[in-house]
Subunit: 191 residues, 2 copies
């Protein structure tokens, strides 16, 4: 079974005017996506931001739930959050994955908008995850979506989730959950 | 096509000690689930709490995004939130649905835990939503899950989402997204 990696990226993103910006870390994204990623057996959940103080916030949230008082509470949140790692940029996370896996991952972009990028279907990505092929690394954006240069750097992109819906503005927390359920929902993750 | 209704319930819920409590409304649940429900074509998203001041908070969030300044911004959030209604209890929402639809809905509970309740599979519920049968009304809980009496009052329960996962503690925001994608993801919602 191929390993699954997930990242939430905060740069380079578009803002509502289409400008390239670094978005702020949202603590609920750290929590929700950590829980979703762990449920679907992700090996790591990377929260990626170039801003050092934002990475410090991410590590502090992690520490609160994995160390000290909280480990004595009846909460299993720390079990999910301990799989979360703050990183400076995509390159750092790719180096960590290659170091651990011995090969580069199949890098997959996501977007709510149609794209000219090579598409990998949800079923094909699910088949990759059931195979013994290279790890699969799925990137999720924030703000008004990933910069084109970031999508271009990926091997493929997943189709928008509900392209024909009259309203199609899912939160990244919902989009992550739906995407992982579609591609990893039939893996038995008991380890 | 049968109508789809969604509720987030804050009473009667269990707390971590198993006691029956009213949980607090979480604004991010209002937003995220409104966006998910609208994407999957729900006719209404009910936020249900017996606490009047909590309902006032829900209405205030709704008003902020659907009226006044915010309608002039480049945000489509109000389009989702205007489908959201605060209600006092399950009975009030059932009366609203019956009034609008002319018949009672098929009432479906959800839980992260296995249950003795009659199970309706995701595929069977999807088939109901594609049919011209009665509306489907799916309830989501908060805190440590719905009280047994609430589950007993439903016609059926959906199976837990990832019952065999080593970690299975999804946020209600993630669980709602996954559930609606499984049961309503193949409906063309363009209206």
């Amino acid at each position: 079974m191929a390993s699954l990696y997930v990242a939430l990226l905060h740069y380079p993103m578009r803002n509502r005017e289409g400008e390239i910006v670094a978005t702020s870390v949202t603590p609920i994204d750290v929590h929700d996506i950590a829980r979703t990623a762990r449920t679907y057996g992700a090996a790591r959940y990377f929260v990626v931001t170039p801003v050092p103080t934002q990475r410090a916030i991410v590590w502090r949230i992690r520490g609160f739930w994995t160390e000290g008082e909280r480990i004595r509470e009846k909460s299993r949140r720390g079990e999910a959050i301990e799989y979360m790692v703050a990183a400076e940029d995509l390159e750092e996370t790719l180096a960590l994955i290659e170091e651990g896996e011995g090969r580069a991952p199949f890098l997959v972009a996501t977007s709510a908008r149609p794209s000219n990028k090579t598409v990998v279907s949800y079923d094909d990505l699910a088949a990759r995850l059931r195979s013994d092929g290279p790890p699969v690394y799925i990137l999720f954006g924030t703000g008004w979506g990933m910069a084109d240069e970031l999508i271009d750097a990926c091997d493929a992109i997943l189709p928008p989730i509900m392209p024909d819906a009259a309203f199609n503005h899912l939160s990244v927390r919902a989009a992550t959950a739906i995407t992982l359920d579609r591609v990893a929902g039939d893996r038995q993750v008991t380890g």
